[in-house]
Subunit: 258 residues, 4 copies
């Protein structure tokens, strides 16, 4: 059974069908103007890495765009919030915000307002990243605000129970990232595969419309492959690509086993 | 004594000296490229008001720029963080961030990183606004990060003791805003003049290099005049201008008694 | 149908069966040592009301105990955390903590540690009260810590989606309290009955083992009656009883229509 | 000079004067009923260590009381908040809270209310411990609430600038604890003596009525001696005593060079 899967996978990787599908995705991606997400999703979180700040944010986005075009795999970026506008202006690819406050127009100094990031060019947002935790009420408010604006939503979670709770709220994606593995270089798909497969199963049961991403420690082709084999529909990654000497080469390595 | 002050003030408002000084300020303002602050400072916080979001942020900045040029009084803006780049790109006036996290480059998703807002065009930042409170340790870290980047710093406070504590940290400005008056339309300079004059006195004693702004409820010429008469060196304002039917006219009214 | 229900309800209130059941509950309550909860649950949150501080906390608990004994209805109290020990020492009734941090033994100054409140006499805890919001990760950690210690758990929520998410985590109870009604004196069961009935329905679907409490504005017999009729299994209340001139009389009024 | 100090210190440690002063302190301590603090202050923070939870909190307080009596040095304890009442009830020594919210009576679920900890027996409180950071506005509100109730106040800080800011607020004590040394076992008085001596100097300049404690990594007699030699007026300590196999012996070692 396992062998059969391996064989199938091998053929799939070489197959004409795969290439055709990739081109079809690529095609729809062009025609949608880039603000449309196809499976699997590779979402690159720039955090506050120096390499992804200011002009660097644009350069990494260009590398993502190039690899996305040549492979047909969708790659989205989450630059720092002050860089959303310039990245969206200069590069045609889906731009996410790293955070969104569940507030409206009004007296909210220093808050991240959905309409503002949307006008700056964002098409989606991370919510509740491990480094920017929100209360349950705030997560729900942020999700609601994003949905009303047609923004894509990724709620980040830290274990199976919080993934299930987040899925119950109905975002587009939940992204499970065990905090102890974030930035560790040890891929979640290797260190704790059950947290991914159990999240996938639990989400399928509670809210099958929600897709599951996984993150933490992912940077190589085999990490992404393993993540997809565990049932996830994409990955959230960061330092492995943003801090790479050559982000484009790192991305090419990442997707080579999809 | 009071009468004498009134008379002096009247002459000052009409005097040639005043005009000459304004032109001198204006002159140095042009030659400094706009990233230099002269007294008094009028700092306009856009909060997340709809009128100051996206293209609106640019339009209001243009109104500020025009009034600043014609009057020689410095007006700075604090648009929403995703709008810093486009405002700084399109309008030549000092742009502040509404918030800054005291973090460096690294694993800080959704945080506001000093280097990023500086590269986006900000020349200063609010810290610890009443709507975005920070811990004492965070305020100090944010201040330190801003200073290392040469950003101007305004720590917001809520009463005399917190103003003194903030001044002890050594920012460029402290901005005292009684929370109960924020957005009330009742100017702090009228509702609670002692909080301003006592802040001015206490700051002069503890750290005379720190300038005092006041805020909350300020929108008219007489509010600004009263704020300056109480010893403050500028104002922090928001809804009175941003939500005005005609922000330029509102600004012109605001500064008419300076 | 409605009439039939009313008639049934009337007979039930007068019936021998009701009295017998109440005595049975009361009996099991005595023999369980008071640390066992029967339906419906009336959970009285003392907040930081002066009347429920220190010795007052004990007096109100005695009133709850007396009404619980005479009626057979379970009444539990959530005094301030420093008062848990003395209330549990002096009055035999279920004592809840108002908050629990999801932390273990260790370097956590000022945190509320499960083992400590349990040793002080608590048998359960509120988690994520509207006035003490937690991140999703903290809610889950707090719940886990409480369960490991055998403490009863009530996760507070603010609307239907957050109730569903909280129920997905598997606490003993979720307590839906629209924040705008807390302390308003307007009972949620009257102002927003759908939020209660929809919570009940949604929870039954997602995790039928979880019971639903409702709160906000509840203080009279008809409020509790309405809450139960909407399908909830108890109420969370506060000022209506704690700040009443005569808490015992207020409690007797509260339960008169059960 | 250094030699002279060493010689003086040696004689002081052996002298009759020292013993006489200690007995005088001890005497005043008895007569004050234990709720009065003399120099130096040794303040033992129990955090959520298992050894200091529940009955353990009482046992450690008894050890502190015994060592305080025999030495004449004041030792105060900060047990977990649910244990304040039982410690204060059973042991006659100054009990501090680990945290205090700057709130009054009212709708504040899960908050720590000054009047409640005072009625439970606390005579003082830590504010803004590194593990329970507060906003500047909250620190000031907490300090004000504590002062109004006659509670002793210790504001914890993390470096020299925050110590100065905290001292500007006028607490009884500031306690400087570099976060990276907390729980490290490396005493601040050895790892970073300048942070202590510079805090002492800066506080003397800004608000000479405020006393300086230092903490982080302190557990041995030489650590306390060094802390006092650097000008501090006491120490804040935790794991070194609470987790010691024999807390009483650890305390006796701690104070042997005072």
């Amino acid at each position: 059974m396992l062998l059969k899967n391996k064989v199938m996978q091998h053929f799939w990787q070489k197959s004409i069908l795969k290439k055709a599908l990739k081109y079809a995705f690529s095609f729809s991606f062009y025609f949608s103007g880039g603000d449309f997400l196809v499976l699997p999703l590779i979402l690159l979180n720039y955090k506050t890495y120096l390499q992804g700040t200011g002009q660097g944010a644009v350069e990494i986005a260009k590398a993502c765009r190039a690899v996305s075009e040549e492979s047909g795999i969708e790659i989205a970026v989450a630059p720092q919030i002050p860089d959303i506008y310039r990245v969206a202006l200069e590069v045609e690819l889906p731009v996410f915000s790293q955070h969104l406050d569940g507030i409206g127009a009004g007296s909210f100094t220093g808050h991240i307002f959905g309409k503002c990031i949307k006008e700056a060019g964002a098409v989606g947002t991370l919510i509740n990243h491990s480094e920017r935790r929100l209360t349950l009420a705030e997560i729900e408010a942020s999700l609601k605000a994003a949905k009303e604006l047609g923004l894509r939503t990724v709620i980040c979670t830290n274990n199976v129970p919080t993934t299930v709770a987040a899925a119950a709220l109905g975002p587009d994606y939940v992204a499970i990232e065990p905090p102890e593995l974030i930035g560790s270089g040890i891929p979640v798909s290797k260190a704790d595969p059950e947290v991914v497969s159990n999240s996938v199963k639990a989400v399928a049961k509670i809210n099958p419309g929600v897709k599951v991403l996984c993150g933490a420690g992912i940077s190589k082709g085999e990490d992404l492959r393993a993540a997809l084999d565990l049932g996830s529909q994409g990955v959230l990654l960061a330092s492995g690509i943003v801090k790479a000497a050559n982000p484009r080469a790192a991305l090419e390595d990442l997707i080579r086993l999809v």
